[in-house]
Symmetry: C3
Subunit: 141 residues, 3 copies
């Protein structure tokens, strides 16, 4: 069994959806050693999230942002948690809808994603800092 775990800070990104597959993979050369296993990535925040989606078309990224802004609008009269601005509470809700972590199969030293799948960082705040993630990989050599 191989276990590798590291905490890294992702590059700061503007509000919206961003493909970060390569940035994640650069951090874990140890992946190559694992024949069968799992990569787990956890974001240590409650106003940014992780998902897997289409890795080529920029308009998927912007359509996702536009739809989540409609489905979870700012300034709803029933929001009491507004201390950090109108993007505060929607960011919490979007994070729980999309999720804080991903588990991805590892096969023969590589992520076993579909051809069109990429890892997304979803930045829900207007001015989020670089986000911290914990990457854990485990499996058999």
């Amino acid at each position: 069994m191989v276990w590798v775990q590291k905490e890294i800070k992702l590059e700061q990104r503007r509000r919206g959806f961003h493909v970060i597959t390569d940035e994640v993979l650069r951090q874990i050369p140890e992946l190559k050693k694992i024949k069968t296993g799992i990569l787990h990535i956890h974001i240590k925040h409650t106003s940014a999230s992780l998902t897997i989606n289409e890795n080529v078309s920029p308009d998927v990224l912007s359509d996702m942002e536009n739809h989540f802004n409609k489905m979870v609008p700012e300034n709803m009269p029933y929001y009491d948690h507004n201390s950090e601005g109108p993007d505060d509470m929607p960011a919490h809700i979007k994070t729980s809808i999309l999720g804080n972590s991903l588990s991805i199969p590892i096969t023969n030293g590589d992520l076993n994603l579909g051809t069109w799948q990429g890892i997304y960082l979803c930045e829900h705040r207007n001015h989020g800092d670089g986000r911290k993630v914990v990457i854990t990989i485990w499996g058999e050599e």
Copy 2:
């Protein structure tokens, strides 16, 4: 430690929500060997998803489809990604809301699901092909 991983193609299904627990279990007789462990199932697509929900009532399946169609409508004016038809971008959004993978506890050679829980394939395209999934199980004998 036991590790088993296989990639399979699920039967083709029409747009909507479908219980696939038995189809998944048929693929992994090795489950019986694991006393304590986890089953992970990952769908290699960005327009179909996996979730766990009620495994008996057909009207839960159709109500889910109807509600997701309302919550993520087709033909929104802010969608730019329409190249494959009106079901294209909603399928991407629904996939990120529901998720690409499930992790389920294994106890004494069986999935430790609740009585009413089943694994759902959520087919978001009008004409999706049979969907590829990677099943990974690991645990102690």
Copy 3:
């Protein structure tokens, strides 16, 4: 490798979002033994869910409940599954949006959550009983 798995019944809670991190941690003193690993928690129901979100402000909990009630309303004309009351079908839908399980990294004998992250039980029924969860932890000492 350490494997620990136990099924517990959480305290009964009223409809809404509740921070349960401490109740979960009390059940698994074995966590202290694990240097690098994963905690997985699975809820064995289709009308209550688990998520990670802000662990301090009570208004995040109530804003979440209010927003999910708006995004997944009761008594929609397209619901056929109403046998257990108007909160029945919305509870199923909310459960699939939020999810049935969480995977959280373990580092040096503790959950590696962000400062503001807590584990939430999301009770979607008006009169849910105490909910059963399966907690599995695995990792290296």
